[in-house]
């Protein structure tokens, strides 16, 4: 996070938006820090876009409040909120040139012609489109249009920038390039970015923090690595990356580690709470954190071990993916880097897998 003073601080308190008794947003509370890049991540229908629209002012909340820099904005129309916004399909005005598009917000604010032209020139340069000002949107490629849309949204120096799946319409390569550009832009400008996407890879790459949303509520908010390593629920564990789920019964607690029995083996997992003995719980671990126990590997960290049979082996370029089955039928996935040095397992092979206790979480 850079320039903590230049970005707006946004506070959502119990935000609600219902249509005919269906709650699109069912009580969202979030403190967005000044200058941070926060992503609202979630599947279709999770309420992330609706939340963004409420912050922008295009939807009126049916409950709760939105405060920007300490002031409630719920009653303020969108054209007074001074927020930059980028839409998925760019929403560039087709009858205006790129330069006129970018100059539009300045015109609304009464900025004089000379000053306007200067700022537009600077914005175009910042977006690496110095000669494209006189072109119309239809004469620009998808990536160029998105950059013009970005330029238009920041030229009037807002303290907050909202983005609604802005890269959804672009192909993978272009998307990845623009993701990096946006990170750079964020670092340069130092303002608050609120970004909406359903693509968890995108969220993990770009964000300072991620708020995972589901069914109109925030399931978990935190730094990408925290969410990935310590998912707080089954939903977050399976939505962000892939997870293995092990149903188990609690046998005891040692410090912060729960001891549970699963598939006839003792599994230890990190656990913030204190579940009762005999309680049925769900343990989770990431496929890439498991390895075959008989491979060349050494670790001093405490390990969990389990006997499994290989049911499927798939070579997927970068990695090999194995479907495994434990004694009582629990299915698991193991991902390991593919390398000529590592022996490929055969279907039907019975072996042992091991993984770190620190990589096992109770959800």
């Amino acid at each position: 996070m850079a320039g903590a003073g230049r970005g707006a601080k946004v506070t959502l308190s119990n935000l609600e938006r219902s249509y005919d008794r269906v709650a699109a947003v069912a009580g969202v509370s979030l403190d967005i820090l000044s200058g941070e890049f926060l992503t609202l991540l979630g599947p279709s229908g999770s309420g992330k876009s609706t939340t963004l629209m409420m912050i922008a002012g295009f939807e009126k909340p049916t409950g709760g409040d939105i405060a920007i820099d300490g002031k409630s904005v719920v009653a303020m129309p969108p054209y007074r909120r001074n927020i930059g916004m980028v839409f998925q399909n760019y929403a560039l005005f087709p009858h205006l040139t790129a330069a006129d598009n970018i100059g539009f917000p300045l015109k609304q604010r009464g900025v004089g012609k000379a000053e306007r032209e200067k700022l537009v020139r600077e914005a175009l340069a910042l977006m690496q489109l110095p000669d494209h000002g006189e072109r119309y949107p239809r004469q620009l490629s998808g990536g160029q249009q998105q950059r013009v849309a970005l330029a238009r949204a920041i030229v009037f120096k807002p303290r907050l920038l909202l983005m609604d799946e802005p890269l959804g319409a672009l192909d993978k390569q272009l998307r990845e390039n623009l993701q990096l550009e946006m990170r750079r832009l964020h670092a340069d400008l130092g303002i608050t970015f609120i970004y909406v996407t359903h693509d968890q890879e995108e969220a993990l790459t770009m964000s300072d923090r991620i708020a995972v949303m589901n069914a109109g509520l925030v399931a978990q908010v935190g730094r990408p690595e925290d969410l990935y390593d310590r998912p707080g629920s089954r939903f977050v564990a399976s939505f962000l990356g892939e997870s293995n789920f092990l149903p188990a019964i609690v046998r005891g607690i040692e410090d912060d580690v729960v001891v549970a029995e699963c598939e006839g083996a003792i599994i230890r997992a990190l656990c913030p709470g204190r579940p009762a003995t005999g309680e049925k719980v769900m343990l989770t671990t990431r496929p890439e954190r498991i390895r075959f126990a008989d491979g060349a590997f050494a670790s001093t960290a405490p390990q969990n071990r389990l006997s499994v049979t290989v049911t499927e082996a798939v070579f997927a370029g970068e990695r090999c993916r194995y479907m495994l089955q434990a004694r009582d039928g629990t299915a698991m996935v193991l991902k390991e880097p593919s390398s000529a040095a590592i022996r490929r397992r055969a279907v039907g092979e019975r072996t042992e897998i091991a993984w770190s206790v620190a990589d096992t979480i109770l959800v």
Binding site: Y19, V22, A23, V25, S44, F58, G216
Partner: protein
């Protein structure tokens, strides 16, 4: 619109997501849209709707509230003859337009190389006024018109045929004038048929004719229905063409209405108008409900 106007935004169901077009509607307080539409609505009420309605009312309140004008229609031989003639003409014209129009629509869609030329040949007459086109048929069908001269020159007849001022002339001219209204909706429907369907049928062993009969033709039905509806309803109300080329022996309902107005028989004219209007509306109501008709009509509207 002042800055202080409160803006109420209505989005749609919560499941809309970016990627799907959000049909947002900025609705100011309902007052503003009404203010925009009111001048036209008032204008049309005063200069069109109320005049027509008050004229139509003459069918029931002349000289005082009565349904006698309608009752007497059942025994009115003139009316019955004219009405049946009108219906008959509309039917034959619609059938003629369909027979001629379907192949043209097909060629518009199947032969993209000639499509611009075909389109121009359809649109050019379409764009000229009914008056001019009807006059053109007067020229063609007259005693010394092109048709007679050609037939005489070819030795097929000895004497000029009397085509002008007969029902046949009306039908020919009306088919000509209404043909574009049949072609355009059918072409529209044909264009919307997925081309891979025909290919699939062919791959499954269907001959071109079988493909046409079992795949193309059924799928083009909404367009056919739309065209038939349009042509029939327009034909019902036609005035200029029958008046110019049809002669006075067999007249259409619209001509009868005009006659009655000339003679100031307002009640009778109003009654006839109601019948004409009701017939048109009934046909529209019946057809519009057929699947795809409404959509085809809307998308082929120029």
């Amino acid at each position: 619109m002042s800055e202080g106007v409160e803006i109420r935004f209505e989005g749609l169901a919560a499941t809309r997501q970016s990627g799907v077009r959000l049909p947002w509607r900025l609705s100011w307080r309902p007052v503003m849209p009404l203010l925009l539409a009111a001048p036209l609505l008032l204008f049309m009420l005063v200069f069109y709707a109320l005049p027509v309605l008050s004229m139509l009312m003459r069918s029931v309140n002349d000289p005082s509230w009565t349904l006698s004008h309608y009752a007497s229609l059942t025994g009115d031989t003139v009316f019955l003859k004219v009405f049946s003639n009108t219906l008959y003409t509309s039917l034959t014209v619609t059938a003629g337009a369909l027979l001629l129009g379907y192949p043209v629509a097909l060629s518009l869609v199947r032969a993209p190389r000639y499509a611009p030329v075909i389109l121009i040949l359809i649109l050019l007459p379409f764009w000229t006024s009914v008056l001019v086109r009807s006059y053109a048929w007067m020229v063609l069908l007259g005693r010394h018109g092109l048709i007679n001269e050609a037939l005489l020159a070819a030795g097929m007849i000895d004497q000029p045929l009397r085509i002008l001022n007969t029902p046949l002339a009306t039908q020919i001219a009306m088919v000509h004038i209404l043909l574009p209204y049949m072609v355009l909706p059918i072409a529209n429907a044909l264009r919307q048929i997925d081309p891979s369907l025909a290919r699939a049928a062919s791959g499954l062993g269907a001959t071109p004719w079988a493909t046409f009969r079992q795949i193309t033709l059924p799928l083009s039905m909404p367009g056919v229905a739309a065209g038939v509806l349009l042509v029939f309803v327009l034909a019902l109300g036609f005035y200029i063409t029958p008046a110019m080329v049809g002669g006075t022996r067999e007249i259409t309902l619209s001509m009868l209405i005009a006659q009655q107005v000339d003679q100031l028989n307002w009640a009778y004219a109003a009654t006839l108008s109601v019948v004409l209007l009701a017939t048109a509306l009934a046909i529209i109501a019946a057809f519009y409900r057929l699947p795809g008709v409404g959509h085809t009509l809307r998308t082929s509207a120029r």
